[in-house]
Amino acid sequence: MRRREGLAKLTGSEKYIDDLSIPGCLWGMAARSPVPRGIIRQIHFAKDFNWSEFVVVDHRDIPGTNEIFMIQNDQPVLAADRVMHIHEPVVLLAHPDRQACRHAINQISFDIDPLPAALDYRKVPTTEQIQYASDNVFAHLSVTKGDVEQAFKDAPHVIQGIYETGAQEHVYLENQGMAAWFDDQGVLTVQGSMQCPYYVVNALKHALKLDESRVRVIQSPTGGGFGGKEDYPSNLACYAALLALKAQQPVKIIYDREEDLAATTKRHPARLKHRTAVDDQGRLIAQDIEMIIDGGAYVTLSPVVLSRGIIHAAGPYACDHVRIEGKAMLSNSVPFGAFRGFGVPQAAFAMERHMDHIARTLGIDAVEMRRRNLIRDGQSLSTGQVINDGTDRVALMDLALKESGWAGHIKDHAAFNQTHPYLRKGMGLACIYHGSGFTGSGEVHLASKLHVAGLSDGRIEIRSANTEIGQGMLTVFTRIASHRLGLEPEQIVIAEADTSRVPNSGPTVASRTTMVAGKLVENACSDLLDQLGLPVHETGQVVVDAITAWHLDNPGQELVGTAQYRQPPGINWDDKTYKGDAYGTYGWATYIARVQVDLRTCTTTVLDFHAVQEIGTVINNTLATGQIQGGVVQGIGWALMEECCFREGAMINNQLTNYIIPTASDVPGISVSFLENPYEHGAMGAKGLGELPMDGPAPAIANAVADALSQLLIDQPDTIPLTPERIMSLTTPIHA
């Protein structure tokens, strides 16, 4: 099935928020802090400037609580007495003319008494830098299994490594944008680019002191999210709504790229330390892992990013003794937030680099090292979760090796590297896994609801708060319902994600939309059949006829099948001890990169890339393949070129001129293969897939670079991105 909204996108007729013409609409903009930390003494509005044309909002205009509703509500909507990071919004302006707005922002200045800022999350803060609890630690989480101390005492080898990953910008091609207006009855409508409409509802209720009946949030077609439109749209929605409230006119805020890159969230920078006990054959005896992530100035989603990160930090391997300590640290940086992978890419980079490090130290082949340790059915992950899904992860790795021509290339590279004056080729692999859906009891707490309505013309309408952000949700939900009820795609309508019409089916995050919300589509279809008095396996025209007949009997009534998430049996998780089934299921993959490093320029080219994964049932091959390819290329960018340069906690290369993402000519075609092992609790047997491809490329590429440069390295490529500058610093110069 082709992408449902595909032609609208190809012809440019799809209407994103910036494409909507809203009568009487003002443009909104924010004046932001120029310093990373300080006490606000005064705000100066330039004297010889006509401020009467502008709507001006500050923290005193917030009718509700001056907090962005999230995990800990520590982030103000607008800074009141103090600022915690550069670009923190202090004053909002609105005006009919966008240029006038831009100009006016520069007519506002701040008197701020600076305070000592914490700018390096890796350093223990000084007393003057403490701003959260007693140690600036937002969250401290740990996983323990077995007896690590004892296991290290008896171990023949202990191998250590330190791995670091940098921030990454989402670069969704559509910048953040939101519009807000109040109707005559005082109902607030907010429409814009977002992943999670009900997050925005909650934020607006909290900051504007409105009950749910007075808040309506509508998702516009969204030009990419990748996590960047998970939490941040709540901030933008509050800004637009506050301006609209004061102006009593609609207000639209559309970030330009510079503001978007400067002021919105990024992937958490992270440092991981591994200390591993292994036997002579390279079998993992004990893993002691520390993961520290940079949370930025406010808590936002950092605790849950950390949670997923540490749970995945020990890799898809069997090891009896594991200790993982994770900390999310405050820094006076623009807050870091959700980004595809959600802590796992950082953890997987460290683990898979470390596996190569162990293999190299012991003189074991990198593939053999993984073969000996990959988790088999019946064995348990670090949380004690016993894996018993029937997926042969060793066979999956072997398929990737075969498809990539691993053995042949290794031989060819050896000869090539000996003779070529300045090019070096190498190969690297990474074995990765990604838990589908929310972590631990997350899905139980969400208790997502979804409706499937039977319409009077016999069509059905799926009502969910899940959003199409490019991943193909409209097409996949259509396919799931079409398969379940035996209907043609044209007989299935997907309701706009408008919170006045759709129930809260949970956020569009965590690789959960197809597997979890898609399952609710199936279950709501079943409930619809039940309400029609039809047998549970009835399909096709009988269903259509029953729906139209129902409406003839019940004119003007709503026929709605409902479903609510129920945890599948056999999942046991303890939030307090971090033990048990962290996820209902996992996607498994082996990724292989082949690279060429040019020693003259220290640039790395990915020659080819093979991604082999098991993700349950593949519902739509084109969409699934596209997700993997896109994720891999985003991962290649993070590994090789994407570097957020920070000064005082703010990104200074906030332009696409100097924040470099891969172009078509920077990457090879990405080879994708699927193994299918249906997951009985996912829609049509599907598992999550969207984040998995972000986890594997960076370690596979770094391992390949290490392989290519093995003779020349004075230091290991254990920090990314592997820019030419970094490669240069790792290698001995050649004189070609």
């Binding site: 494409d19 596209g626 896109g630 290329v633």
Partner: protein, 166 residues
């Protein structure tokens, strides 16, 4: 809702999507804003506003250009084509091959592909991937884009069937 208040507009005539157009614009107004906010042609997207991403690609006198870097007042007598001029029947291969995901880069991609299709000789000098490297996409990893364009090109001109060498 304007983006710009202008005190000294100048009037120019050009051909837009095969139709004559006379329009008064601020001398500092970008073509991108004229298209989107004056003419309601919102298919052309803003991605970066500095000529890096190609989301605003249009054809000016049959050459691809970033509408964010062109002042409308420079276009007197010129022929401008936007995504709104594209015949939907030419898009089925791109639809089928996953050329679009989120859609924000897509109009620019389609316009660049249109130019390549009309000037297939350029493929003798540069690969399709090189020719498409002015259009950033964050969703597809480019395979869906390259495949969709290849199939489109091959249908238009099967004699010079094109295949991505990578």
């Amino acid at each position: 809702m304007s983006t710009n208040t202008c005190t000294n507009p100048i009037t120019i005539s050009l051909t837009l999507n095969s139709k004559p157009l006379s329009i008064a614009v601020d001398p500092a107004e970008r073509l991108l804003d004229t298209l989107r906010y004056q003419l309601g042609l919102t298919g052309t997207k803003e991605g970066c506003a500095e000529g890096e991403c190609g989301a605003c690609t249009v054809l000016i006198d049959d050459q691809p250009a970033n509408a964010c870097l062109v002042l409308t007042c420079q276009l007197a007598g010129r022929f401008v084509r936007t995504i709104e001029s594209i015949n939907v029947d030419t898009l089925h291969h791109m639809h089928e091959q996953g050329t679009t995901q989120c859609g924000a880069c897509t109009p620019g991609v389609v316009m660049c592909a249109q130019w390549i299709n009309e000037h297939q000789d350029v493929l003798k000098h540069q690969s399709l991937r090189q020719l498409m490297s002015g259009n950033l996409c964050r969703c597809t990893g480019y395979d869906g884009i390259i495949l969709g364009i290849e199939k489109t090109l091959n249908e238009t001109n099967p004699a010079t069937a094109h295949k991505d060498p990578r």
